[in-house]
């Protein structure tokens, strides 16, 4: 992948400005889909910051997202704190956790990392349920705020924009260059003097931070928080599907995947409520066998072929 230029940043800014007007024209059902799409866009873009260049499939999104949502519920319900407190605390907690996980697993081969993140959301959910039942008392966690769907949407849009900008800056920095070398060949990267573990840990910590932030922002939407609901392993997989479907090799790749997939996913949920697993499986197979570099990769491949023919 090439460093994105100013042109791409300008297009992204234009898109963000247009997206900001969505709550003014859409309401009810379509606004709620827009919120979901914006949530996945922020999650998938931050996921791709790390997994795009390194090709490490992270399934930790659900765990960090859950930490965000759960801390909002717990801090507002158990300790009567204002909404902004967990909004600041949760991402920091998740970032610290991501850093520890990164330090333990990212020094080793990529498989260990994938396996570790695979059961992470489930494990943290078990742990929190246990703590809640034994030490905190199993009361419900209520999140009562004045925030409506459009406010959540704008906050998520802001997060997505920040993630995009950050990704753009990273791409142009030494860190981004180092990551691309790691993704091409880790041994080479090590031999030219790149501290591969540090670079990976920094990026992974960043994605943990943003996933928790998104989880915290979206929490008021549910008003009632349960560990079983916020620590959903399914979320991690959906984010992977959307990012890869669009193409994780480009900063704007996830955008291409998120919008159609969110709409299709909503439709599947209504039409075939019991077959969501089947569709998720088919989406993975589609990615591996038909679109290994995502829609964006396929388009670029076609364009390259056209150019060859002209030449």
């Amino acid at each position: 992948m090439k460093p994105s230029g100013w042109q791409e940043l300008l297009l992204a800014a234009l898109f963000a400005m247009l997206a900001a007007f969505v709550p003014l024209v859409a309401n009810g059902y379509w606004l709620s889909i827009a919120v979901t799409a914006m949530m996945y866009l922020a999650l998938a873009t931050s996921w791709a910051l790390f997994s795009g260049p390194t090709h490490y499939i992270s399934l930790a999104t659900g765990a960090f997202f859950g930490i965000g949502g759960y801390l909002v519920g717990s801090m507002m319900s158990d300790y009567q704190l204002a909404f902004w407190v967990p909004l600041v605390v949760a991402p920091v907690v998740a970032a610290l956790l991501a850093m520890l996980i990164g330090l333990a697993t990212l020094r080793l081969s990529g498989v260990y990392f994938v396996i570790f993140t695979l059961g992470l959301a489930e494990m943290i959910r078990n742990l929190i349920s246990w703590i809640q039942n034994n030490f905190l008392g199993s009361r419900g966690l209520y999140v009562l705020t004045d925030l409506r769907d459009q406010h959540i949407y704008w906050m998520l849009l802001a997060v997505a924009a920040v993630v995009y900008l950050l990704g753009w800056l990273i791409n142009r920095s030494r860190l981004g260059f180092a990551l691309r070398i790691i993704g091409n060949d880790e041994t080479v990267a090590r031999h030219v003097g790149i501290n591969t573990a540090t670079a990976k840990v920094i990026l992974f910590t960043t994605t943990g931070f943003f996933a928790a932030l998104v989880g915290a922002i979206i929490a008021p939407r549910w008003s009632y928080i349960e560990p079983n609901q916020v620590f959903s392993p399914q979320l991690s997989f959906l984010v992977v599907i959307m990012a890869l479907l669009g193409g994780a090799g480009r900063l704007w790749g996830p955008l291409v995947g998120v919008i159609p997939f969110t709409i299709i996913w909503e439709w599947v949920g209504v039409q075939f409520p019991n077959q969501s697993f089947l569709f998720m499986g088919l989406a993975f197979l589609l990615i591996v066998y038909v679109l290994p570099n995502g829609v964006v990769g396929r388009i670029e491949q076609l364009r390259a072929r056209l150019r060859e023919r002209e030449a």
Partner: protein
């Protein structure tokens, strides 16, 4: 205390068997099969379904499952995974592709299983209490353990004392070198993958006699099998047995002394310790 020891060790028998299956798939065929747990649950579903609809003994299902799972896994390897092996330029790319493809398969299997049986696979078979070394356990746990030991032992003998077994182990050591000495590597990989899948499904049928499963629990067993394989060292059968015993004991101890809901957390604790102190596994050699 003795109770923990006995039931922990009985549990570890089936764990070791399932980990052997995964070991064949990852160590020999070099496919990180994350649908492993779903294949296990499929074996459990077969045992449950045959028992509740036509009173077929789960022990008979164990035998029935072997050829079915073998053929099924062979087809998966041949038609879905071989193209990935061919197109990958290096082991890293194959790993990513295999992980994504087996995720897809695992979700498709869950989807199919949910549509067959959406609830728990609950049935009672040989659940009378028995006494082992003064501690009470149930007969089904003992029977499952003995069958797991028998199958695992047979596999061990096959790998060490027959020609195809040695060929499979050679592929595990080096695909290139085995190709040079005239071993049909693609065929042996397919054989190992199919055999691994069959063993995993058998393990699932056995586990279902004493643990109640449901269609979406596979990932937990995938995690456990992976942790055992990593703890024992990839390709190490003795290592897998010791690691399975450790995991079985620790899980049982945590479940009885602290809380049954924390078994996965206990497995993770072991996993973290292994990653920090012996990433090559208890019995593994440091690879170059």
């Amino acid at each position: 205390m003795l109770d923990i020891l006995v039931s922990g060790l009985l549990l570890s028998g089936t764990y070791a068997l399932v980990a052997m299956g995964l070991n064949l798939q990852y160590g020999v065929a070099r496919i990180m099969n994350l649908a492993n747990g779903e294949v296990l649950v499929l074996g459990a579903l077969a045992a449950f379904w045959l028992f509740t609809t036509s009173q077929v003994s789960p022990l008979l299902t164990v035998i029935l499952v072997i050829p079915v799972a073998f053929v099924g896994n062979w087809l998966i390897y041949r038609f879905l995974l071989t193209p990935l092996v061919r197109r990958s330029k290096n082991q890293g790319q194959l790993e990513v592709d295999a992980i994504l493809a087996t995720f897809g398969m695992s979700f498709i299997l869950i989807g199919i299983m949910v549509s067959i049986e959406g609830g728990f696979f609950a049935y009672k078979y040989l659940s009378e209490p028995i006494s082992i070394l003064g501690s009470t356990s149930s007969l089904n746990r003992l029977v499952a353990f003995l069958i797991a030991v028998a199958i695992g032992g047979a596999l061990y003998l096959w790998l060490n004392h027959t020609r195809p077994g040695v060929a499979v182990r050679a592929v595990a050591v080096s695909t290139e070198a085995s190709g040079l000495v005239g071993i049909n590597v693609p065929r042996m990989s397919a054989l190992a993958f199919a055999l691994g899948g069959a063993i995993t499904a058998v393990g699932g049928a056995l586990i279902s006699t004493f643990i109640t499963l449901d269609a979406s629990i596979g990932v937990v067993f995938t995690m456990k099998a992976l942790i055992i394989v990593i703890m024992g060292g990839v390709g190490e059968i003795r290592g897998a047995i010791v690691a399975a015993a450790i995991l079985g004991l620790v899980e049982t101890a945590v479940a009885t002394l602290v809380d049954p809901g924390l078994t996965l957390a206990a497995a993770y604790l072991i996993f973290v310790l292994i990653l920090l102190f012996r990433p090559q596994g208890l019995f593994g050699r440091v690879s170059s």
